[in-house]
Symmetry: C2
């Protein structure tokens, strides 16, 4: 698959790009915002596209055209101002969906947030961020695209454990893991891309007991 990774400079996005670049079955284009990021990627031999999620849908169509899939991992992670959350996590995401629809790219993998589907569980501080993720995810579910929505728990900068737990609505007990290494999230995204068991599915993701392949096949 030819895959466009939007948010390719983010902590998850970078790992997805590297995994796809090393893959035998996929190729990757990294969608980034800054000229210097393009240069850096090109020096590593990675295809890069300079684009802006705040621009019009027609510009985004140019980026998406000719791809087989889009991975959307751009966004604030709740740490930027809520204005950027509205412009990137919500409108930016939906504009990329519209661009994909307009040029006939059907496969779309979204990096969301644990519990974004469940309003009652949103923490007070992060609520504006969850609102944006929630409605972007809903728009994707209603878009007609072949989506996968990955909702990881607390993100860790640790090496992959290669052991995960996934479910449409994960019930977490006190003793359960609520976190997951970013590298495992990236692996789940890459593994999902051509695994039809993950199509039209949205799921929470934390560290667990199953292998990635096994867990995704049970969705």
């Amino acid at each position: 698959m030819k895959v466009l990774v939007v948010g390719a400079n983010g902590k998850i996005g970078r790992q997805v790009v590297n995994m796809l670049e090393e893959s035998d079955t996929h190729s990757v284009t990294a969608f980034v915002r800054k000229e210097e990021q393009v240069e850096e990627l090109k020096q590593k031999g990675i295809e890069a596209y300079l684009g802006n999620l705040e621009g019009p849908v027609t510009d985004l169509e140019e980026a998406v055209k000719g791809m087989d899939a889009v991975v959307f991992s751009a966004g604030s992670g709740g740490s930027t101002g809520a204005d950027k959350t509205l412009l990137i996590d919500l409108d930016g995401a939906i504009k990329v969906m519209e661009a994909a629809q307009n040029v006939g790219v059907n496969r779309f993998v979204m990096v969301s947030a644990f519990g974004a589907n469940n309003r009652e569980g949103w923490s007070r501080d992060m609520r504006p961020y969850y609102v944006a993720k929630h409605y972007a995810d809903k728009a994707l579910e209603q878009s007609g695209l072949e989506y996968t929505i990955v909702r990881p728990g607390g993100l860790l900068d640790e090496p992959a454990k290669d052991k995960i737990k996934v479910a449409g609505n994960l019930e977490i007990s006190e003793s359960d893991e609520k976190t997951v290494p970013r590298e495992d999230v990236a692996k789940v995204i890459v593994t999902s891309l051509d695994n039809e068991k993950t199509y039209r599915k949205a799921f929470d993701l934390v560290t667990g007991e199953q292998s990635i392949e096994e867990a995704l096949n049970q969705l």
Copy 2:
């Protein structure tokens, strides 16, 4: 019609409440956030409901139950922080829609913003606000509710002119009015409530040449 006005303490909401209170065909309940607002309304003999748009949908169902219609005029007008824009203009609005659906209240009038349907026209400063209004409006259009979405131009604190111009996508030339008195917006909302020509319609609204009745009947 028994009408719940959400955002009843706002500049448009207050006028809608007063018009409905004086109407022979409608009755009104004012949904407000603060105890002191409830007291103030009760002293005027106006029914009030103390509620919070940041609360759960089940609480909002209690407010909507038994109504024939909801008017949603709550929101920041773009002047509060973007976090409140996400929580009130987007999530708050959609939670009230969900509450209305859950308890079988079908009529829903939304106060939106001129051009909220047209991304390319959004001014840079107000863009986060337009994003929230845009997706709230889209959710309403997809909700199955009997909606009317009123998108007024620049709001003036002037007496009603009783002359308006409306259209699904209003093309404004240099010489045209781009503004409308809040009192005219309130009149359009009240007149729309039981006018089926406005059902399942979304339209821009500015001062124009037609009477309100005439303009709405041509939608």
